[in-house]
Symmetry: C2
Subunit: 118 residues, 2 copies
C-alpha cells in the first residue's frame, strides 16, 4: 500500500498549516489516492515518527515523503534525513522515497513567477 507524508516545518499558528492540510485533502480526494498524512518538525503535532507509525499501522509499505519547504535548508538537508534514517532502521521492510522540497520543483518556480506577474 502506498502512503504519502507531507512534512513541513510547523508553526504555533494553525493558519500556517492550512495550505499543507489543503494539499493533503487534494491528494486524498483523487481516485486511487495513497494514504496521506501531514507531519511537522516542530511547534505543532503530529511529529514525523507519530505520523509514520500511523501510516505503517494502516498497512503502508511504500512511503513517499514530500518536504513542504521552499528551499533545501538545514531542516530539509539534515533534520529530515536523520528522521528518515531512524524510520528505516525501525521499519527495514518499508520502502521510503524522499522527494526534493516542493519549492525547488521547476514547475513551482515557474508558477511563483507567474503569480508575481499576475
Amino acid at each position: 500500500m502506498k502512503g504519502v507524508l507531507l512534512f513541513g516545518h510547523g508553526s504555533r499558528d494553525p493558519a500556517w498549516r492550512q495550505p499543507i492540510e489543503a494539499v493533503a485533502a487534494r491528494i486524498a480526494a483523487r481516485p486511487g489516492a495513497p494514504v496521506v498524512r501531514c507531519a511537522y518538525l516542530e511547534l505543532c503535532e503530529p511529529d514525523f515518527d507519530s505520523a509514520c507509525a500511523e501510516l505503517v499501522g494502516l498497512g503502508v509499505t511504500e512511503l513517499r515523503v514530500l518536504p513542504m519547504f521552499l528551499g533545501m535548508g538545514r531542516h530539509a538537508r539534515e533534520d529530515l534525513p536523520a528522521l528518515v534514517h531512524a524510520l528505516q532502521e525501525r521499519c527495514p521492510q518499508l520502502s521510503i522515497a524522499v522527494l526534493p522540497p516542493v519549492g525547488e520543483h521547476p514547475s513551482a518556480l515557474d508558477l511563483f513567477a507567474d503569480i508575481a506577474a499576475l
Copy 2:
C-alpha cells in the same frame, strides 16, 4: 515603473535562497519584466527596507510584494504588514500591493498535490 519584491524568511544557508533567487531570475527574463529584487526577514541580506529603497531608487512607483511563504503564519500576517506600513509612511507616493503567500494559491496547492503523486 513596476517593481516586484520577493520576500522570504531567510536562512543562514545560501542553498535555501536558491529557489527564491531562481524565481526572481525567471521573472527578470520575461519580456517587459518589472524590476525584481529578493529580500529576507532575518538571517540573511538584504532586508526588506534595503531592497525597497533600492527599488524606489531605481524609479519603481508600483510595488508588488510576493510573500515567499507556504502559509500565512506570524511572519506573513504580522511582520510583513508592519514593514509595509513603515515603507508606505516613508514613501507615501509609492503604490504597494501585498499578494497572498505563494503557498496559499490554489494553483500551488494543486501543483504540490501533483508533485506528491508523481
